[in-house]
């Protein structure tokens, strides 16, 4: 090896294969930077600027409004139900898909992707057609005094449907790449199915699971389309934060609208920060998993 070092002619100006001229680099990076600023950062800044336009006092006053507080509470409630639900079912579905072979597996995979591919409005309409007053089950529900559409259950259902793929989509590729050898090893060593799941399968996907839960949570809190269809926009009762923001905005109550928007954006930023932190952790354990 030392020989070849000596015999190889040395390049005087080693050029990297990937280098571009300075001008081209500035132009490309500048374009990308401007685009990001205009599309991503500017709106975020506008939300905060508009929220504080009439001073901090008016800004904080917006949160004392009982309808606003009800919207915040509802959003948190919906996320608190939809996220654990989708975490459990997303994990179950991924586990079934990645670790077993059965008939209808591809159909299940397609179904999981369905909420990603159809418009959220349709996701909402499906429930109206099913449970609405004129829907398939409408009469029966009304006769039994069960309210789903224009009530909290409908909002939860629509949110669950729209956010279902996040956890499953995060877990399936990872679980498939990990295969079933570790589970087989655990079973031959005498572990029960539950012991294997909690001590082998789950620890191997815990970072991906948390990551999926965060994404699912962000979407659950921010979902507008599907929820808008089933909610009925009853103030203080069936308005989530995104719906409440729209109402305030349509009433020219800009400061209040942007104040609530800052809160929603704040939740998103916290989620993003947590996600970045996880990605950093996750990349290590992912890399370890791949080296294995």
């Amino acid at each position: 090896m030392a020989m070849s070092d000596l015999t190889l002619p040395r390049a005087h100006t080693p050029e990297r294969a990937t280098s571009e001229s300075l001008l081209a680099r500035i132009a490309l990076i500048g374009t990308a930077g401007c685009f990001l600023a205009a599309v991503l950062f500017l709106p975020l800044i506008v939300v905060f600027v508009e929220g504080f336009r009439k001073g901090a006092e008016v800004f904080f006053d917006s949160f004392t409004d009982s309808d606003t507080l009800a919207a915040v509470r509802l959003t948190l409630l919906v996320a608190a139900i939809a996220v654990p639900f989708n975490a459990v079912f997303g994990l179950s579905a991924s586990w079934a898909i990645a670790k077993f072979s059965f008939k209808g597996k591809n159909l299940l995979l397609t179904l999981i992707d369905l909420p990603f591919s159809i418009s959220p409005v349709i996701s909402g309409l499906v429930y109206v057609l099913l449970f609405g007053a004129h829907g398939w089950l409408g009469h029966w529900l009304k006769a039994n005094g069960v309210e789903i559409i224009f009530a909290v259950p409908g909002i939860v259902l629509a949110t669950v449907l729209v956010t279902f793929p996040f956890v499953a989509r995060e877990l399936i590729p990872l679980m498939q790449s990990q295969g079933t050898a570790e589970e087989e090893a655990a079973l031959t060593l005498g572990a029960s199915g539950w012991h294997t799941f909690f001590n082998v399968t789950l620890p191997n996907v815990k970072w991906a699971l948390l990551y999926g839960v965060l994404l699912c949570n962000a979407r659950a809190m921010g979902e507008f389309g599907a929820v808008s269809v089933v909610s009925g926009h009853i103030r203080g009762l069936t308005n989530t934060m995104p719906l409440h923001i729209e109402i305030l905005y349509n009433e020219y109550n800009f400061v209040a609208a942007f104040a609530v928007a800052t809160m929603l954006a704040g939740l998103a930023l916290v989620t993003l920060a947590a996600k970045t932190l996880l990605e950093w952790r996750f990349s290590h354990s992912l890399a370890a998993a791949h080296r294995h």
Binding site: A181, E182, E184, A185, A186, L187, T188, L189, G190, A191, S192, H195, N199, V200, P203, N204, S285, A288, A289, R291, H292
Partner: protein, 263 residues
């Protein structure tokens, strides 16, 4: 502790493709038998069926007098070693080895100290003292496979099943581990079945070799016997060019004479 294994008329197919076509084999207690064959010959399927990881359509496996089909996978107490180790990547070496004991129901589970001591003993047996705190990714391939072996031995298995244990290792490490496994087997005396596609490995390691082809065992016997009197044309062509193992001559009664190796 070690029991004989009786395999009777196992048949299994994947869809329309038959993997095992009526395989029978007897393995004496404490014997080391190699399942040798080209890829697709059914050797891994046979091993996984004995382990209970695959279900045969017909046929039986007996561990001693016990019909294995009466036992669930966890009741079989099989020490299975996988080609790609299948170590628990998020656990230390010690936790990997202790897994089988910790997974026992509370009534039969030893105390934490006993488990730890037993795992440390096993790590000594596979010559990995001092590495108990490492994670699998921090070990070489040969070390990982020894951890996998220690983990399998920890549950005091009825039978040890090795699926191409050295298949993923380089030639030098393979040779070292071969010798080492032979010595370990002589010390622990487990009934052992191991799968390989490497003729040299099979003939050097095993008491007897079973040669599989297309889901059928074509010949079973000690190395010298197979090399001198191949039963079928396939066996003859498959073992062609293998050096006769001089260390393991055939005695008059057909059994293998063991010669202590000088180190």
């Amino acid at each position: 502790m070690s029991v004989p294994v009786k395999i009777r008329d196992l048949e299994k197919s994947y869809g329309r493709y038959p993997a095992l076509k009526g395989v029978s084999l007897d393995v004496a207690a404490g014997e080391l038998v190699a399942l040798l064959g080209p890829s697709g010959s059914g050797k891994t399927t046979l091993l996984r069926t004995v382990a209970g990881l695959e279900q045969a359509e017909t046929g039986n496996v007996f561990f001693g007098d016990i019909d294995a089909s009466q036992l669930s996978l966890r009741e079989r107490r099989i020490g299975f070693v996988f080609q790609h180790y299948a170590l628990f990547r998020h656990m230390t070496v010690l936790d990997n080895v202790a897994f089988g004991l910790r997974a026992r129901p509370r009534a039969t589970r030893p105390s934490d100290q006993v488990i730890r001591a037993r795992a440390m003993d096993l790590l000594g047996l596979v010559q990995l003292d001092g590495l108990e705190g490492r994670y699998p990714t921090q070990l070489s391939g040969g070390q990982r496979q020894r951890v996998a072996l220690a983990r399998a031995l920890a549950i005091e298995p009825r039978v040890l099943l090795l699926d191409e244990p050295f298949g993923a290792l380089d030639a030098k490490v393979r040779k070292d581990l071969r010798k080492w496994l032979r010595d370990l087997h002589q010390r622990t005396g487990h009934t052992t079945l191991f799968v390989t596609h490497d003729q040299d490995e099979a003939f050097e390691l095993a008491d007897r070799v079973a040669i599989l082809n297309k889901g059928v065992i074509e010949q079973v016997g000690p190395a010298a016997e197979i090399l001198e009197r191949p039963a079928t044309a396939f066996v003859a062509s498959f073992v062609e060019g293998i050096a006769r193992p001089e260390t393991r001559p055939l005695a008059r009664d057909g059994s293998v004479i063991r010669i202590a190796r000088a180190h």
